[in-house]
Amino acid sequence: MTGMEILLLVAFGGVMLTYILGRISSSLRNTFAVVLSLVLVVIIALMYDKTGETIFYRGFFGIPMVLRINSLSWIFAMTISFIGCLSVIFSLDYMKVKERTSFFYAMLLLVNSSMMGIVLAGDLLTLFIFWEIMSWSTFLLISYNGGPAIAAGMKYIVMSFAGSMAMLAGIISIFTAFGTLQISEIAAGMSSASSGFKIFIVIVFGIAFGVKNAIWPFHAWLPQAHAEAPSPFSAVLSGVLIKMGVFGFILTMYVVVGLGTYMSLGGAIFSVRSILLVMGAITILVPTFVALLQDDAKKLLAWSTIAQAGYIMLGIAYGTSLSMAGGVLHFLSHVVFKSLLFMTVGAVEFRTGGIRDLNSLGGLIKKMPFAFTGTLIGVCGLIGVPLTNGFVSKWLIYKSLIFGSPLLTFVALFGTWGTVLYSYKLIHNIFLGQLPEKLKDVENTPLSMKLPMIILSFTVLLFGILPGLPLRVINKIVVSLGFDSLNISLWGIVSESGMLNMINLFAAILAGLIAVWLFLRIGARTIPVKQDDNYAAGAAVPRDRYNYTVKFYDPLLRMISPYLRDIFDTFYMKIADLTGYLSNGIRKIYTGYVGNYVMYIVLFISLMIFVQMKWSPW
């Protein structure tokens, strides 16, 4: 039995055991869940720098089901187990007050386990099976909170399932074409396949992974799902789960289709590559500004997630060593800072009794300083402030795009500008400004929530200062996908289009950091005024005027919002409505009058006889 098999066995066995233990004692279960996640981290850490394939099961019609490990799988698996572990720890307090916690833990661990299965899959069947388990278990978690989460979960699973079916069509097409599903064997067959077949594969896989990755126009499910999921899971969802789409894209384009073929697939403007790049660009641009519109903290982060997925997409789809490294690194960065942000927002939600509305929060910096710090670091990473990981990954992406495609670079930079705006809105409306009356008794962040925040904040800075740590592994991935190797040092990277060295940038970056810090402190230094003291011409000021953070960027939003209506969301809802309408029409054939039913029978026979006598097709 190899490490991978042990890993999956532990992971999936742990899921069941967690649920069973939960029926006995909740503290036992919590302990077990934490230990289990830690063990998984350790097992994966031990697999560092290993490569290999193993057939683990032949029971599925004798099709060999394969697990394989390489640097790509490892980095994804590591991320999954790491974030998974942190989210479990974060949940300890967060979930205490909820019902059906055993179900929650089991599903959380199941999602993590299935994601590990996906990244370790050595064949498409294994990939698909774990993919589906991930989809439905995610669905159960998104719907967990009930209420608005129901619609969110529904949207997620329908889109996701549609994607899965597309993927299934692709997988089985490959199976019938090449007689194998092993990823290592497909590539050989793929090289001789017709380009139509390749495009078909890219399209169906693109739909499947695009939905999961929330690439425009498949993003419609994400905002609601992220907002309505339990916060510990939002972190996982936004941090790693949608990155399974990234994994899938890399796999499809550079492993299944192959680097060489990918770059030349399709016609000039309508080449697969340029279409993907355009989609990536739109995914940056639109959601960034939609994020600005959000008054719900988690929705804001959700839209931000989509936008960041666009950066990753740009990096991956562009197809150079540097962009690839940037894309993968930005995936890592995003995992870290976005999980961090969801956790801090989750902590606020937890302590304020479930408030996520940015207009109802404010001034929590004194009540929850810890969460504020975490948010600050996270936001810095999100914006790409130097010395954070986000800076390094975005920088790599800009660098690789700037000469090849100035337009895309501009889009990416424009997106960053928007990122600054919504990030400031987030941090200001929660922690700065005035503390609403009813939040007076808010307590500080509990320890179980602090711990993951510390670790993540630390990671943001660590990877920001020492980008060589992750880049070394990423370089191996880049090489294994067929790109040229990059020149990596602990402090940075050297490439033909420019170089990055953190030491050189240190001073300037530090200055900038202090400037931002001061700026924010000034913004926070407001004079607390009794709410009752606010009068305008003797009349009480309406409640929403008390807090000047309300309607942040209002004029700007009034200007741009007409352009930001989510036409694709509307489109999908129209499809759903149409399906409902059509179904309702079709079922009317069952009129309830039995004479009609008999008529159908006679009609069937007569029609058949008529056709046969007229045209004799049979």
Partner: protein, 231 residues
Amino acid sequence: MKSVFSLILLVVLGAGVVFTLSSIPFGSTSSDVGEYYIDSGRADTGATNIVTSVVVGYRAFDTLGEVTVLFVAAIGLGAILAAGRENEEKKKAEWEPASLVLYTGCRFLFPLILLFGAYVFIHGHLTPGGGFQGGAVIASAFLMVYLGCRKKRISRTWARNTESISGLVFVVTGLTGLAVGGHYFLSNFLPEGTLNTLFSAGIIPIIYIAIGLKVGSELTGVIDDLIEESE
């Protein structure tokens, strides 16, 4: 409109039927199987009524199924009528008693008709009779009693047990064939006797008597259920 449409459909259907029938000319078809039965039915089964030898011999399994169909319908009818009856207040229906002539006549004829029924199924292998026909006659005798003597009801336990035992006789006869006869289900394990005598044709009379009793008691049960319903 609807009937016109239906008619058109049926005309098309009829055209198809006519087309197919043209390959089965009336009155002159003869099947290999049918000829075989006529030629060797007596030797194979010992019954002089070839239809009987088909029904209870060659295709006895069909007949077992057929008995079961009737059984199913009888139980089903009982179940349906019983299910509704539970939650329903009893209301007395007005009904006219039969005249003395009918009342007395039915009583007088009842044993006679039962005898006819018995005659029909006992001679199933010799005459056009058989278990189903005989059973139907027996059941009609009971129907007659209901018509003439409304309140007179058969004992359901009796009917049910008769039904049960005669059904079992059929199956057990078949299983006996499996065990001792030709080692086939429903194969004959009794001597075939002399043609055209009552005690001949092996297991056929046994099965037909069982069927007669079973069909008789089942149909009687059905009639009884329906009569009860009209009360």
